[in-house]
Subunit: 207 residues, 2 copies
């Protein structure tokens, strides 16, 4: 870690939510925003918003609030969303295909530059302007295209195996959509898509 | 709320993660598990696991740990995953199609019984055994099929409008995949899919 100070994960997550709101404000030509406005939009305390901005070293002007454009630029810089990182996807099934076509990802800092599958019928076909490649070429592609992030949309049974291969091929981060908690070395960053967790909250609350 | 005691959201989310691990253990014919094993698997403190089980009123046997099958049954009961609730999906684009075909959802307590779109070219077509319906029939379908959950995979621009229609049609819960924070009455439960939040953590940590 080259960072002097590490921003906690909940703050990072909230910063991304603030950003989505700020982009909506900019769309509506609103130029200034208070921490209270942001807090109300996200149903949190305004003190938390100010504290998050402190962590991120973002400054407001007393009584005038925050400049919307300035906030967007600052949050983009912190999250490293100011220039998209190269990403690959493994598992071009229906979810994988959907994610490859999800146009918002570019706004969230990643751009797909490669797609992989094990199915010989899929390899060689083009999807979202990418030619589906064999996993045999994974390591080479990661190196030559300087790919930092892998999105995994593979079946549960093969997820750990694919993760092992990604780690060996020197990937920096994995975003896993298979319902398996992956085991990877500490230096590799993993985020799990939490479909089950979201549904747990919904179904419990319905009662 | 008819519940005597409300289980906090972070506990609910962790319970669903414990459950996925327990299902893997059962698959491997492992019958007993300790809170330490679960904690190690999820990279959390074992005290937190025991506290979550206390909230959920799940009891272990001293020195023998927890029975895997018993835990699965208990967590399913708490999360209301012991019998799937009926769900609908609005927006049969590529992500919507992928989610309709995502076989794990049934394990996570929901079953799709209806799908809707505004595109006349899509209405009437069959996808994943469901005939795509017009939003004009939303209210009627929710009532006759006793649908409690709506999954929204619609474009950002129309998300609030669709949410308003769902609320009018007496939906109980919305799981929203559009990158917009929906405004709904307090009695309606909303969960937002947090693609941006997951990517914020990944791209920041890569640095």
């Amino acid at each position: 870690m080259k960072k002097a100070e590490i921003i906690p994960e909940p703050t990072l997550r909230r910063l991304s939510s603030y950003l989505l709101f700020l982009l909506q404000l900019r769309e509506k030509k609103i130029r200034t925003v208070s921490s209270t406005m942001i807090a109300n939009e996200l149903f949190i305390e305004s003190g938390k918003v100010r504290k998050d901005f402190q962590y991120a070293k973002i400054k407001g002007r007393p009584k005038r609030g925050y400049d919307v454009n300035h906030l967007i630029v600052e949050i983009d810089k912190i999250l490293k969303w100011d220039g998209p990182k190269s990403a690959l996807l493994v598992g071009v099934g229906s979810l994988g295909t959907a994610l490859l076509g999800y146009s918002n990802f570019q706004r969230y800092g990643i751009r797909f530059v490669a797609a992989f599958d094990t199915d010989p019928d899929k390899i060689g076909k083009t999807i979202q302007d990418l030619v589906i490649d064999s996993l045999d070429n994974l390591k080479k592609e990661i190196k030559t295209k300087n790919i930092e992030i892998a999105v995994m949309t593979v079946p549960e049974e093969t997820a750990q195996e694919v993760a092992d291969l990604l780690v060996k091929s020197k990937i920096k981060a994995i975003w896993n959509f298979a319902p398996v908690r992956l085991k990877v070395p500490e230096k590799v960053i993993v985020e799990h898509a939490r479909f089950a967790q979201s549904l747990a909250v919904l179904t419990y609350k319905i009662g």
